[in-house]
């Protein structure tokens, strides 16, 4: 019963994230909403596995957690830097540019 309530809460939270992803206004808001949606998906998969009696689905949750991160980084690089091929700066790079 508590698990079912938890699932309902997660679904509502996912709906709120979708609202933010649609409403924006800046691309960073959308990315944040997408990333947070992914985290809630991970939790939802884990809880569903227990609710429906097949906890082996946790593998899928692990995959989601990893993929979600990569997608967020790709979107961030696209919006901020307009490239997928150039590296993200390390502190040494930008210091050298300053000096």
């Amino acid at each position: 019963m508590l698990l079912a309530a938890g699932v309902a809460g997660l679904v509502v939270a996912m709906g709120l994230m979708i609202w933010r992803a649609i409403a924006g206004p800046s691309p960073y808001d959308r990315m944040l909403a997408g990333n947070s949606f992914g985290t809630k998906t991970v939790l939802l998969i884990a809880v569903i596995g227990y609710l429906f009696g097949r906890p082996a689905f946790l593998d899928i949750a692990i995959a989601y957690a990893l993929i979600n991160f990569v997608t967020t980084i790709a979107l961030m690089k696209f919006v901020r830097y307009r490239t997928l091929a150039q590296p993200l700066c390390s502190p040494h790079d930008t210091e050298a540019k300053d000096g």
């Binding site: 508590l2 309530a5 939270a13 960073y28 991970v42 949750a61 901020r80």
Partner: protein, 124 residues
């Protein structure tokens, strides 16, 4: 005993989802990018911790406990890093944080003064 495990584990899961739900409300209601990132990432990691601990109590000590620990480790590793990257990119792109008393002025969009970054995939 089994009853106590059921209630404690289920209660932790429910508390975690409640925390996530509160974070979701924050993401919808907060005024600018940085406060939204703060609401989302903090409640995501906290909610994930509570939910996964609750599930671990429910499952007892099996192989699933190890997998839950892995899920937790990955969420704790990736969510804050992604939030940091987003905030970093938003700041360097010129989004100004809102400082001072929170008031909604008419006709002002809540995204701060982002000069270079408009939505829509326009060429730089």
């Amino acid at each position: 005993m089994a009853d106590a495990i059921h209630w404690i584990g289920g209660g932790l899961v429910f508390a975690g989802t409640l925390l996530t739900l509160l974070g979701g409300v924050g993401v919808v209601r907060f005024p600018d990018v940085y406060t939204r990132i703060h609401a989302a990432s903090l409640t995501d990691t906290g909610g994930a911790t509570l939910v996964l601990i609750g599930l671990g109590i429910l499952s007892g000590f099996t192989l699933e406990t190890l997998k839950l620990a892995f899920v937790w480790a990955f969420v704790m590793l990736t969510t804050p890093a992604a939030a940091n990257a987003l905030a970093n990119a938003a700041f360097s792109a010129g989004h100004k944080p809102r400082i001072g008393a929170f008031q909604i002025m008419k006709g002002e969009s809540s995204e701060g003064a982002g000069p270079a970054q408009r939505d829509g995939g326009v060429a730089p």
